[in-house]
């Protein structure tokens, strides 16, 4: 069993190393094949691990694979351990499965890019890190995987490193993620202090006997773990990096910033459930923040005009649902939504990539329109993804999202409020999703669309940075000179097709009253949970919930249709009437400005103070000049004796001699 764990990690790592070592010797195409094959290998191993795991009896489905002592000394027991259980294998399947398809898509989408080999090396490294994260068997390995995905994300966000916008977005993402890492490490310290182990299995076994309910250090530790989760999963207020991360190539947005990495926070909370169940105060904070994020992100998505950023905010919003779910002990529902979301969100990003290619690299919704006829396959995929995201039957998103909401109501108390927020979010999701689709695909074709209908892909003579309109460095071969759309690339079509099938059909895994595949599969992991088994809404109420969810989503879609297809002057009128609200949303609730004010500027001020004032006045002024000043003053006094007058020296000598002689004469008596 444990060898599958190592193989799952080994394939992507070998892919990275192989590509890095042969980047000059092999043609770029070969690296695409190597990269994709490596991830496919990891997926196959995950499936084999799944089968093996299912063949074990339910109470033995928790296998720890021990590699070597990593940092095992003076009481710290950090070994390189992997934990294979239904939860980690479930995550491996999602990560490796979606990754394989996105690698496949990238072989075509990135084909004319100069950095093709580098892209696949980074992408493989990312998958390795993500799998390390989900397979980690102790806190230290988890932190390593956690930081590695952050590093890979940084590298891929600033993949087009000649753009200052990209490097800025990269460093922002990295630093916020380091804040998350710090939270995770500090949280680990709080837990380690009492549990005396870093190993997951041992730590969870000891939790209930070590900590009382809502023990102070436990809550502090869990809250700090949540900081890590929020930073990685772009939850308020540590979310500002995610929209900027859209500077990366579109497959990166699909893989890292939609399907896999950003869901790590969800996985973290689910993995740490014994801790959070013993510290309900921390779990409640998680649930509330998740709900707040889902609402805030959804409102911003209503006004953003950058195609990829709309999807990015919708990702934040959907992860808000998942965080809310796992923080409310609805583990299977949260993870089920993670699964369906990975499919339909990756699909949406891929479709968006195709549209952006058709626009010659531009991402601005204001400049798009009428691509329905020009890009029929992309349009189909986008609608499938959009319907799944909005939650319309029978698409997968409805079942997963409404299961979360139903469980919130079932949990009762203030969680019912969260459920209401969830329904509100459903409505907003319908609006912003279809606002994006209608504006990009419906109405009159823009010149690029018209050109494409005539069979020619639009090209811009001078490549420009889509974010700023700044002219690109002409010698740079990335983004490549050619663009690729799904309609002409079989690889892209296959990848999107497969995801579309998933987005449509995955709902069958968890139809209320009919199937509960995810729930049953994850049961051994959550066997000790206080809530998991009992939290089971009746079939009837579930179906009522589904109906309400559908109504909300359809209402949202209808509103979008009315505003952006039927009566197209209305949005401008509403915007004029609600100018302050629009400004508030368009400025993203002023979170960037807030962080700037509270964190960035004081730090910069302190740096300037240290460099200009403290270093000059205290270190060089008082300490260096002060010390040398004392020496100089002393030497000036002594130096006055050295007059150069020979006779003065002689007099001094005689005087001194006389004084000594007199002293001895007197003392002798």
């Amino acid at each position: 069993m444990s060898q599958y764990g190592w193989l799952i990690l080994g394939f992507p790592l070998a892919g990275t190393v192989l590509i890095a070592l042969t980047w000059k010797r092999l043609p770029a195409r070969a690296h695409g094949v190597i990269g994709t094959a490596a991830i496919a290998g990891a997926f196959v191993c995950s499936v084999l691990a799944l089968l093996k795991l299912q063949s074990l009896p339910s109470d033995q489905r928790q296998v720890v694979a021990v590699g070597w002592d990593y940092a095992k000394s003076v009481g710290v027991d950090a070994e390189l351990t992997l934990l294979l259980d239904p939860l980690s294998i479930f995550m491996c399947l999602v990560v490796a499965g979606v990754s394989t398809l996105i690698h496949l898509y990238s072989t075509a989408y990135m084909a004319s890019d100069e950095g093709f080999s580098r892209f696949f090396a980074y992408l493989n490294f990312f998958v390795f890190s993500m799998l390390l994260l989900v397979l980690a068997g102790n806190f230290l390995v988890l932190i390593v995987g956690w930081a590695f995905v952050g590093a890979a994300s940084y590298l891929l966000i600033s993949f087009y490193f000649r753009r200052t916008t990209a490097t800025k977005a990269g460093i922002k993402a990295f630093v916020i993620n380091v804040v998350g890492d710090v939270g995770l490490v500090l949280g680990t310290y709080f837990l380690f202090k009492h549990l005396h182990t870093l190993d997951f299995v041992k730590a969870f076994e000891r939790t209930n006997e070590t900590f009382t309910r809502n023990d102070g250090d436990l809550v502090a530790g869990c809250l700090l773990l949540l900081v890590g989760a929020f930073a990685k999963s772009a939850q308020v207020p540590l979310h500002t990096w995610l929209p900027d991360a859209m500077e990366g190539p579109t497959p990166v947005s699909a893989l890292i910033h939609a399907a896999t990495m950003v869901t790590a926070g969800v996985y973290l909370i689910a993995r740490m459930y014994p801790l959070f169940e013993q510290a309900p105060a921390a779990a409640d904070v998680g649930a509330v923040i998740g709900a707040a994020t889902l609402l805030i992100a959804a409102t911003i998505a209503l006004v953003v005009t950058d195609l990829k950023r709309v999807i990015a905010y919708s990702t934040m919003s959907q992860i808000g649902y998942m965080i809310m779910a796992v923080s409310s002990a609805a583990y299977a529902a949260g993870l089920f939504h993670l699964l369906t979301h990975a499919f339909f969100k990756a699909l949406l990003f891929m479709a968006a990539g195709s549209v952006i290619s058709a626009m010659g690299g531009l991402q601005d919704l204001d400049k798009m329109g009428g691509f329905r006829k020009a890009l029929p396959f992309t349009y189909g995929c986008m609608v499938v993804g959009g319907l799944a995201l909005a939650g319309v039957p029978p698409f997968s998103g409805l079942f997963s999202k409404d299961e979360i909401i139903a469980l919130e109501f079932e949990r009762g108390g203030f969680h019912a409020v969260l459920g209401v927020i969830g329904y509100l979010g459903s409505f907003l999701t319908g609006v912003y999703t279809f606002r994006m689709i209608f504006r990009a695909f419906h109405n009159d074709p823009v010149p690029e669309a018209a050109e494409l209908i005539r069979g020619h892909l639009a090209h811009h003579e001078v490549p420009v940075n889509p974010a700023t309109g700044e002219e690109e460095d002409s010698e740079v071969g990335f983004p490549g000179p050619e663009h690729h759309i799904a309609e002409r690339e079989p690889a892209m079509k296959v990848a999107m097709g497969a995801l579309a099938v998933g987005a449509i059909g995955l709902g069958v895994l968890q139809v209320p009253g009919v199937t509960r595949v995810v729930h049953t599969f994850l049961e051994p992991t959550f066997a000790d949970s206080r809530y998991y088994a009992e939290l089971e809404p009746s079939t009837g109420s579930s179906w009522i919930g589904l109906a309400v969810g559908t109504v909300m989503a359809l209402a949202g879609i209808a509103l979008a249709y009315r505003l952006w297809v039927k009566d197209r002057r209305a949005p401008a009128l509403i915007r004029a009437r609600l100018a302050p609200v629009h400004a508030f949303l368009a400025n993203k609730w002023y979170f960037d400005e807030l962080i700037d004010l509270v964190v960035v500027r004081p730090s910069a001020w302190f740096g300037r103070f240290a460099a200009n004032t403290f270093e000059r006045l205290v270190v060089n002024g008082v300490l260096v000049d002060g010390t040398s000043g004392v020496v100089r003053a002393g030497s000036a006094a002594v130096r006055a004796i050295q007059s150069g007058f020979l006779r003065a020296y002689a007099a001094l000598l005689l005087g001194g001699l006389t004084a000594v002689a007199l002293y001895f004469l007197i003392s002798a008596q």
Binding site: G644, F645, L646, R647, L654
Partner: protein, 99 residues
């Protein structure tokens, strides 16, 4: 004759020499005064030697004379060199040792 008188003469000569060094500015005269002081010391040494009845002090005096001769040679050489380089022959003007 008691040693006191020798010592008295020696002290007087020493003081004349020391006073000369302090008041005169010509290096030549200072050198002369230095010789006076050395010879005052010689006188005292010989006197003690006689009083103690051994020859140690006289040997010291001979050595001092040799050293004095060397010193005069070096000193006069310096003075001649100063004169040749057209520097002022005045110790108050020659104060390169000032700190």
């Amino acid at each position: 004759m008691s040693t006191t008188w020798y010592l008295l003469v020696s002290a007087v000569v020493f003081c004349i020499g020391a006073g000369g060094i302090l008041v005169r500015r010509s290096p030549l005269v200072i050198l002369l005064c230095l010789e006076l002081m050395l010879n005052a010391a010689n006188l005292a040494l010989v006197a003690f030697s006689r009083a103690n009845g051994n020859q140690d002090g006289q040997i010291f005096a001979v050595i001092v004379m040799v050293v004095a001769a060397c010193e005069v040679a070096v000193g006069l050489g310096l003075i001649v060199a100063i004169y040749r380089r057209k520097l002022p022959v005045d110790v108050d003007e020659l104060r390169e040792l000032q700190g």
